[in-house]
Symmetry: C2
Subunit: 366 residues, 2 copies
């Protein structure tokens, strides 16, 4: 039986655990952020690492996104195969095999890739010349997250940008930075204060580079927790927010106005006592590193632990008469890594299954 034979079935009849996206909420989230970018005059290049799903990326593009951001080559390949053209791989592409893949991909879409060291830049230039393609380059700047990136405000950043601008087979487009250590802080003051420091570093580095006569077209940064700040910086041209589309418990705490579009449908499999409810969604159905799930529409139930195959709930007070076989919905703590566990996303509208979308960017670990 093909998947389409299930379309139209009520949500509660889909066997569990299964990953759901509520289309009304997804579309409202996409529209809300798109409106902000239309009004601010800045560009949104949504990070698709959260959903990894071409069908959702296309909705973001239709709503006005300039292109998409991917975390790695495998995701970019999946998105290009789904017809998406303007793609930033917001990471370094290292090693001869991946560089060969990158140059092949450059024939099928307008790819842009991050660079943070001169040796890698030289390898890319040589490979692009050999392949006869001209990928775009952004210099990744470490603006405080201390992961990859050349140091903000350093001479090395200026030199790397100048070297990139001299390349004949790479097109230097500008800079990117990511304030990943502050973007999801629940404390608004700490988040915004930290983000401002980071964004200022990026803008200053841009000024350093332009001061040397190198033109910067793109300056990309930020995420769901601080997109509204970066659009106030004249020097920043585009934003990589991604989690806003599906959302999760961790970003929900920031009270940004986006709704929970993502959930896991789960069945009660055991009622060992009146206070305890055991369901069939555990660590293989959702990830715990940003916190445990909420139980939608059942705030009397609290998930206190996830085993590999079980969600372990208890009543917040008193007892519950929810029976074995009842269906619950978890809002996951971390959407990005939860989606990564699934091959398919089940799209729901008005309580019924409207589409089954392949999570085409999953499993592309490489």
């Amino acid at each position: 039986m093909a998947a389409y034979e299930y379309l139209g079935m009520p949500r509660e009849e889909i066997d569990t655990p299964v990953l759901l996206v509520e289309l009304e909420v997804l579309e409202a989230n996409i529209e809300m952020l798109a409106r902000h970018f239309r009004e601010s005059g800045k560009h949104l290049r949504p990070h698709t690492k959260s959903h990894k799903t071409p069908a959702i990326a296309h909705k973001q593009l239709e709503a006005g996104a300039i292109g998409i951001t991917c975390a790695k080559l495998g995701e970019a390949e999946a998105m290009a195969q789904a017809g998406i053209n303007d793609i930033l791989v917001a990471n370094e592409v290292i090693g001869p095999k991946k560089i060969t893949r990158l140059m092949s991909l450059a024939r099928h879409c307008d790819i842009m890739v991050a660079v943070d060291n001169p040796e890698n830049l030289a390898q890319l230039e040589e490979a692009a010349a050999r392949a006869g393609v001209k990928p775009r380059i952004l210099i990744e700047v470490n603006i405080g997250h201390n992961r990859c990136g050349v140091a903000a405000g350093s001479q090395a950043a200026v030199e790397l940008a100048k070297a990139a601008a001299r390349c004949r087979h790479l097109r230097f487009f500008g800079l990117m930075g990511y304030e990943g250590h502050v973007v999801d802080l629940e404390d608004r003051e700490a988040r915004e204060g930290g983000a401002r420091e980071c964004l200022q570093r990026l803008v200053n580095t841009r000024a350093d580079i332009e001061g040397e006569g190198v033109a910067v077209q793109i300056c990309s940064a930020s995420g769901t927790g601080d997109y509204y700040l970066s659009t106030t910086y004249a020097g920043i041209t585009e934003v990589q927010a991604g989690s806003y589309a599906l959302m999760d418990v961790a970003y929900g705490k920031l009270d940004l106005g986006f709704g929970y579009a993502l959930s896991i449908l789960t069945t009660v499999v055991s009622r060992p006592s009146p206070e305890r409810v055991i369901t069939d969604a555990g660590l293989k159905a959702l990830t715990p590193e940003h916190g445990l799930p909420l139980v939608k529409d059942h705030w009397e139930l609290e998930c206190h632990a996830l085993s590999e195959e079980h969600g372990r709930l208890r009543t917040r007070q008193g007892t519950s008469d929810i029976p074995v076989g009842a269906v619950l919905e978890f809002i996951p703590g971390h959407g990005c890594t939860t989606v990564n566990l699934y091959d398919q996303l089940h799209a729901i509208r008005k309580g019924r299954l409207e589409a089954i979308w392949p999570v085409a960017g999953r499993g592309k670990s490489r």
Copy 2:
């Protein structure tokens, strides 16, 4: 190019991140535990939730395992399709859709399934009658883990066993319990003390049931951290250990004599400072809930954080001259959920790729 065209390639040439199993270590682990069971006269029914890979399950059976344990129906279906016959689903099977699948599966293998409540037992009996199959049943007993299971030593446990024994279309075989809250405790005394309490509860419950004239053939419990204890109990007939085959950092701390067979090959993608090393394996390549990975053969490097796509390492003291592009190996904190991220397991012998095995039980969230 088909996968077999890559066979024979040196491990270091496989593009990263990729999940590896070292066959020499895997085979030694399997043989070490098999020897213990040959000598103890007890049965090993290895839990395949750790590897989810039929090729490994077959190695365990060849070494003498009596059958296998699965965490859920989807895994059992994958294993049955790979020709495995004697399968325990060590969980309750709830809801009409899953029960229908279970009865279909019962035509293709000798399935055994856990039950912890009388309504579910009645549903299984009715479905088995309708399908004309006779699956085996174990009563799941809560021996202290407080997840699923009927309370150890309770009248309810005895009644459920008696009801199961009366079923005409289900074959009652006995009991299972799992001391999951103590099985991986690093403190040996706490682990063994806790396990003894739990195992005694299981053995006592068995005696209660047999005291009512109900024969118990199988009494199943325990895991990698305490298998050697349960084989000393006359009332326990088989053990569900699973992690011993691949191992991980969490179980490595217990010093049980099994080697690390599982690893993730990862490439250095950035060297932002002499003390910092960034690699391409993060939360989408391995799981953190039981701890961060070790860096094999590079004990001078410490993984202090995993981002979604990055392993973040620092030197334990001084600096490191490991270059961008170098290949490292992570031993994952938790093998079971790490394997669950991958579609394939790359099997290595003598430093070369010997096989690419589908992780057939992955993605069977249901």
